[in-house]
């Protein structure tokens, strides 16, 4: 075998090396260009979700059904202002007196939520003398530990954030609507403008800035209590409230383990 370096051999080796380097750098440039075009983001880097654990509690007895929360949520999150898209809404339960001669302790249960309760409720739905009791129940995403919506998403667009919020990545969502069907609490919808799934994010852009969610901010009676379990403030309203009250979740039999708690809930509430 000829070990001496001929001119021809030297030139061809050099040429190959240059071609290799050129290919690699071209591939890197191409990769960077593809990533810039398809998968990059200008997301800020100043919030660490592993250092928080958000919690929402409702005091059903305090809700007066004013609808400020629904209106604030729509304003804050650009939710379509129609009758069928809500991130949070208020339901009114009216439990009628039992029919005369009936041995049941309570009569028919009516639930209404005209326009999500945003513009108030009609007073003449049931005559006053027929009502056994009536109360308002605010609803929003129940922040399940085992979220059916996350399991149903075929593209990994919806996820449980480490801080407890269940979020939707609008860039990944294909708008298939499986999560809308999967949510047993009816908390999701497809936004008709963006054609992607939308839901309560706990006003993620607010809570990460140290503000309260818009619905909590405007609630006039403190029926909505919001806090961070990992960074409790000295007189933390959440801890104190859970200590003082018996709290319950919606639809516990489904095993979704909601982290949104309700105090003073009636058994008729679904």
């Amino acid at each position: 075998m000829n070990t001496s370096l001929s001119r021809r051999r030297l030139l061809s080796t050099l040429g190959r090396a240059i071609a290799g380097v050129a290919t690699f750098s071209a591939a890197r440039v191409a990769k960077a260009a593809v990533q810039k075009g398809f998968v990059s983001s200008q997301a800020p880097k100043n919030y660490d979700p592993t250092k928080h654990r958000w919690q929402m509690v409702f005091d059903v007895d305090k809700c007066i059904g004013c609808g400020h929360c629904v209106d604030a949520c729509k304003t804050e999150n650009n939710v379509p202002r129609d009758q069928s898209h809500f991130r949070t809404w208020i339901e009114r339960y009216i439990i009628k007196k039992p029919a005369p001669g009936s041995d049941s302790p309570r009569g028919e249960v009516l639930v209404d939520s005209p326009n999500g309760g945003m513009n108030g409720f009609p007073d003449n739905l049931v005559p006053r003398e027929e009502i056994l009791k009536s109360f308002f129940v605010p609803k929003l995403c129940n922040l399940c530990e085992h979220s059916p919506c996350v399991q149903a998403c075929p593209v990994g667009a919806t996820f449980d954030s480490p801080d407890g919020a269940v979020l939707v990545d609008p860039n990944y969502c294909i708008g298939c609507g499986f999560c809308v069907q999967a949510c047993p609490y009816g908390c999701r919808f497809i936004n008709p403008d963006t054609r992607t799934a939308e839901k309560c994010t706990l006003c993620y852009h607010r809570i990460t800035r140290g503000l309260k969610p818009a619905c909590v901010e405007v609630c006039p009676t403190e029926a909505r209590i919001f806090g961070d379990l990992k960074n409790p403030v000295p007189d933390d309203p959440i801890q104190a409230f859970i200590q003082k009250n018996k709290v319950f979740t919606l639809k516990p039999h489904l095993g979704t383990e909601p982290r949104v708690l309700y105090a003073n809930l009636d058994k008729e509430v679904r």
Partner: protein, 151 residues
């Protein structure tokens, strides 16, 4: 001895498999966002993108920066639990630029809570407009920031 030769149809299959696996690996390496496995099987940047939107409601602290006196008055009365923006509507634009005025609350805002309604808890004072000094505005008799006082 005859040299072993891969049958051409098998060779094509092997080459095709290599091509598929290679193009998958390249696509995966190129198209997976950098933040994808940061917290789990989703884009970590999605969290930060959602967090980067701008609020519409400024919050009570922002109101107190200029309207300290009103906030103090409010804190003494029965309306102390009500946030400013509950009646005065979203105020981030006003907080950024005080020349942008917020709409004045009207009687309709009072009645949003104080209208007599089935379902409203008893602790809340409720009226029906036709039985309660018809023809007068609420603020003629009531001070919203100090509801127990009379003007």
């Amino acid at each position: 001895m005859r040299r072993f030769k891969l049958p051409p149809q098998i060779l094509r299959l092997v080459l095709l498999t290599i091509a598929i696996v290679a193009s998958y690996s390249i696509a995966r390496a190129w198209l997976t966002p950098a933040s994808f496995h940061e917290y789990g099987w989703y884009r970590g940047d999605a969290i930060r993108e959602l967090a980067s939107r701008t609020p519409q409601y400024a919050g009570r602290k922002a109101c107190a920066e200029c309207h300290d006196d009103e906030v103090h008055k409010l804190a003494k009365g029965e309306h102390k639990t009500i946030g400013c923006e509950s009646c005065h509507s979203a105020g981030q634009a006003h907080a950024d630029n005080p020349d942008i005025k917020l709409p004045k609350p009207s009687d309709k805002d009072c009645m949003g809570c104080h209208q007599l309604l089935a379902g409203r808890p008893k602790f809340l004072k409720q009226i029906t407009l036709k039985d309660h000094y018809t023809g007068h505005r609420c603020v003629e008799c009531h001070v919203p920031h100090q509801p127990s006082e009379v003007p």
